[in-house]
Symmetry: C2
Subunit: 321 residues, 2 copies
């Protein structure tokens, strides 16, 4: 159980190691949506995404004996980098299981932070099997990228910082992949907000959270053909349970809407965010009436984008649907 | 003559109308250069560039009778937008003379801010002739994009803000186009810095300032074949005279260096800046030994970049030279 005190402890524990990211506003985007938006810029977080918060909180709670053994995780993306960098800070070995089709730029980043990459086939089964092997062989401690309570508590600190600056925010909109960020955010909104609702945003192409909230049980993604590569992941037991109790609703977005949101934020706010980071803004634009006049927090979750892929995203803006 | 008091007055006059832009740091970029860098993010300024400061300072000093007549300027880029927006704030008519080959995105932006565009041939002679015509026909007041003392004083406020936050900066590096920004910055460094030197950065492809400082008189650009489109302009009488007295040196950069600097800042700092905005960082990287260990201010002058052109910039990174 993650209570108020766990969130406070996580926040204090990781503060010396992470950036307190700025909160941006944009008159143009307020005008477009009719809401008052407060963008929490986790694209400026260390290694370029909020994941640093959860990884750091997990690693800092290892015992000395566990630190000696090292840690292992499976992630194709930002959590891989976050865990490597967290471990580097503390001189701990990190084994990172990455699908063989992970972008080279992400592999390079993990290696740059000192992570030891173990490649596997790009399926959930292969990931988990490889993780088991490493746990047995190296006696490394598994840190799950989002199901871990320590990770979830760490991710909540972004929303805590936002509420510290803007305590009367009425809504907070958060991308949903595996659900670690939105779980932490929803708990932070509950414990530290003033009647602040948490809303999720996910691609139609990976809408497991939307369908899980409808059916009341964890539903599987049918396809994951989305540019929001951080949101392809499936909810886990812990994140589903927190989301089910604490999230007001999930808004689904087309690929075109995600692409447009990303480009609008690049052009208007002059900051680089990845497609997964843009989806919360896309949700507010889609459901304009729902957010109208509301003081709304938007978590810009990360900025790790391969610039070679910009043309691809811009092409999606002209897609129908 | 622009003295200390003129700068203070300009700063106070424009403050209600402009953003106090943030100062960013980057451990990675400090590591690459060996210097301590403080990036003044004018890409986050209103309309996306520092030009708003100078335009606003000029427009706010018009008499009521002049406001009635409206203003005219010639600019292919950011100053056109800045003057339109400044005039919009105060309900003044603005005539903007733009070369016929200006990017559509810049024309659209000027129109969006209410500027009235008059197209002319893309030569300095045609610009000045068209300006004269508008002054005669419409009785509009000419505001020169950089030779105007009011504009120069306004541009100085970016450096004043930077020195307010970091008073012991030893060097400040500034892009040089027409010279308005570096003139204002050099005066601010002289009046408000503690022994702070001003250094200019310009493309080899438009190195009029470098050669002008060498010869002691205004030299013409031979070619202006540079991606740093904000820096194609020629020094003017006022800016040359201020730069000659107050700027320590000018560093010239290749197109490849400018492109690399821009992409590094996008990727590492997660912010969008235009090529002209990247050149100051490129200069520090090129002359590493000169800046080593120095607390150095970097003016990121603007962020108005046509995303369609990213591929073009990335291609330049692989050029020899």
């Amino acid at each position: 159980m993650i209570g108020k005190q766990e969130l406070i402890d996580a926040y204090n524990r990781i503060s010396p190691y992470i950036h307190k990211t700025p909160v941006f506003t944009s008159q143009t985007l307020n005008y477009i949506t009719g809401a008052q938006l407060y963008f929490k810029c986790e694209n400026f977080q260390k290694m370029g995404a909020f994941k640093m918060r959860g990884a750091m909180n997990a690693v800092l709670q290892l015992t000395d004996e566990e630190k000696e053994r090292g840690v292992v995780t499976h992630s194709s993306g930002n959590f891989a980098q976050a865990l490597s960098l967290s471990c580097k800070h503390l001189g701990i070995k990190s084994f990172i299981i990455m699908p063989s089709d992970s972008p080279q730029v992400k592999k390079d980043a993990v290696r740059g932070y000192g992570g030891i990459i173990i490649e596997c086939k790009p399926t959930l089964a292969a990931r988990e099997e490889t993780a088991m092997k490493i746990i047995e062989e190296k006696h490394a401690v598994l840190i799950h990228p989002f199901d871990s309570e320590n990770v979830i508590a760490g991710q909540g600190s972004a929303c805590m910082e936002l509420l510290e600056e803007q305590p009367d925010i009425e809504m907070i909109v958060v991308p949903v992949g595996g659900g670690g960020l939105i779980s932490g955010s929803a708990l932070a909104a509950k414990y530290f907000g003033t009647n602040c609702k948490t809303i999720g945003a996910e691609p139609f192409e990976a809408d497991d959270a939307f369908r899980s909230l409808q059916s009341g049980m964890i539903e599987m993604n049918v396809s994951t053909n989305t540019i929001a590569d951080g949101l392809k992941t499936q909810l886990s037991r812990n994140t589903f349970s927190i989301i089910y109790k604490n999230v007001e609703r999930i808004i689904r977005l087309t690929e075109r809407e995600i692409a447009e949101a990303m480009i609008t934020i690049w052009e208007r706010m002059k900051i680089i965010i990845e497609p997964s980071g843009a989806i919360a803004y896309a949700a507010i634009k889609r459901e304009r009436n729902y957010f109208k006049g509301k003081k709304t927090g938007v978590i810009l979750s990360g900025g790790n984008f391969d610039l070679m892929k910009l043309t691809e995203v811009m092409k999606l803006m002209n897609h129908d649907k």
